[in-house]
Amino acid sequence: MKVLVSVKRVVDYNVRIQVKGDGSGVNLDGVKMSMNPFDEIAMEEAVRLKEAGTATEVIAVTIGGDKAEEQLRSALAFGADRAIHVKVDEDIQPLTAARILAAVFEKEQPGLLLTGKQAIDDDNNQTGQMTAALLGRPQATFAGELTVAGDKATVVREVDAGLETLEVDLPAVVTVDLRLNEPRYLKLPDIMKAKRKPVDATTMAELGVEPAPGLTVTKTSPPPARAAGVKVKSVDELVAALKDKGLV
């Protein structure tokens, strides 16, 4: 069984982003970029499936500009066997990403597509679900546990009320949550080895994908600011302040 993993290049999760003064977006100049943390978890899971003998080949795919190759190299260092770079000039929105992932899926015929549950830049949380819908295949989102047995997978999902279990027929789309695993630390020899692994470049046109309708961003603003607070010196002062506001 092949496992396909989508990886997105995003602003590193430690960066505190700044909104541009003219409202045209966020300032990305010189900002550290990384693989979306959820996609690292997806990569880790795929590689573990290969190490366990369940997966025969792990393929990483990204959709992005030239620089997104860095994230594909990280995916190869994790242990992907090869990578696919779908080159686009502009940022694409989830439905277009889903069409592309669905096209790659049809071409590669994997048993599983693993995606992150959300990309931490736009926080859309849409692409995996949309891809599953376009493919007409099962979806299990927010996976905290994944077990593959034969032509089925059992997924424990992290939902608001607790842990839900779904059984799906393969091939299926699984979006991964934080507690599925802890991604390994990439070692230098693996990073070196990754440089020699194959990356195939392709385009939307080659995949026969038309861009989907999207949203237009008209303005980017800083979030509503909270009024500055105060430090209280004692529990008594805290209790008095809360009583004063009618909160206790």
Binding site: V11, Y13, R16, I17, V26, L95, I120, D121, D123, N125, Q126, T127, G128, Q129, M130, A133, L134, G136, P138, Q139, T141, F142, T154, E158, V159, D160, A161, G162, E164, T165, L166, E167, V168, D169, A172, L178, R179, A212, P213, G214, L215, V217, T218, T220, S221, P223, P224, R226, G229, V230, K231, V232, S234, V235, D236, L238, L242, K245, L247, V248
Partner: protein, 313 residues
């Protein structure tokens, strides 16, 4: 004129409050608001939904296949009804239920989706948060297409009661897959108030130190009648179950009072509490970032502060 379909969330035969919040968001869009209940026996849920002020009609699609909330089974029915019914908007909550479901609906309809509406400017113009709420974008959607969206529940109060909408049974003729099977739900929360709707929440972080020590958080919460939350570090360290995580990738909540205990205040955690009324932080590190957003900060050892606080409330 707009015609908005709000997808009702329900658990154990009870209407979830997120439905009412989504109706409140829909009210900002204007036009007719209908609620759709997908269930195997939705009558009592529909009766609850009919009481939400502003709802015109409650549609009940009873089907044995709708017993459990499986997105691949519910989405084709929603898409079909949205098309046949001439709906301009389809809204769901941004709970895990809605996040799982709504993108499926959008993809079936072949339209873009707006995640986490936090403000409505017009029928096709909305604000939504990006980068864990550190920026807000105003987005415009194509008015000629059905608008599918999830509503950021923390941005909307529950709508008033007192409505008396008509309830109508509907049969939706959509082909449903059998490739996905619901095997069950293991609930972790106890009898404490629901984290997402509790007016008061006490959360503990890594500073609490252990599962046993978390008792000090539960005790304060019980004294206040509060729900209990946690940081990711507390969840990952095994102090509490995962459904208690507050933040960008956990629950986004808006209680009137939020007390953060032994939590440093990482941006991912703060993303979950931006709309809290009053934030109290108790932390031994006076430079902890949580103090930048706290209305009332108390520097101190939580193991001394909490028992004293509990005694004085």
């Amino acid at each position: 004129m707009s015609k908005v379909l709000v997808i009702a969330q329900h658990d154990d035969g009870q209407l979830n409050l997120s439905t009412s919040r989504a109706v409140n968001c829909a009210a900002g869009i204007g036009g007719e608001i209908d609620v759709l209940v997908l269930s195997d026996s939705g009558q009592s849920i529909a009766e609850a939904a009919a009481q939400i002020a502003g709802v015109a009609k409650v549609l009940v699609a009873d089907n044995a296949a709708n017993k459990d909330p499986v997105a691949v089974i519910l989405a084709p029915q929603i898409a079909k009804l949205a098309q046949d019914g001439g709906y301009t908007h389809v809204l769901g909550p941004n709970t895990t239920y809605g996040k799982d479901l709504m993108p499926q609906v959008a993809a079936i309809l072949g339209v873009a989706m707006v995640t986490d509406i936090m403000n409505v400017h017009g029928a096709h113009e909305f604000d939504r948060p990006i980068y864990a709420g550190n920026a807000v974008v105003t987005v415009q959607a194509d008015a000629s297409q059905t608008l599918v969206a999830s509503v950021r529940c923390a941005s909307y109060k529950t709508a008033d009661a007192g409505g008396s909408a008509a309830i109508e049974a509907v049969t939706i003729d959509a082909e449903l897959p059998t490739h996905t099977r619901y095997m069950g739900l293991k609930k972790e929360g106890g009898d404490r108030p629901d984290l997402q709707s509790a007016p008061r929440v006490v959360s503990g972080g890594r500073g609490v130190g252990s599962e046993e020590n978390f008792k000090i958080i539960y005790d304060l919460a019980d004294k206040l009648g509060a729900g209990v939350g946690a940081s990711r570090a507390a969840v990952d360290s095994g102090y509490v179950p995962n459904d208690m995580q507050v933040g960008q990738t956990g629950k986004i909540i808006a209680p009137e009072l939020y007390i953060a205990v032994g939590i440093s205040g990482a941006i991912q955690h703060l993303a979950g509490i931006k709309d809290a009324g009053t934030i109290v932080a108790i932390n031994s590190d006076e430079d902890a970032p949580i103090f930048e957003v706290a209305d009332f900060g108390l520097v101190g050892d939580l193991f001394q502060v909490l028992p004293e606080l509990q005694g004085k409330l």
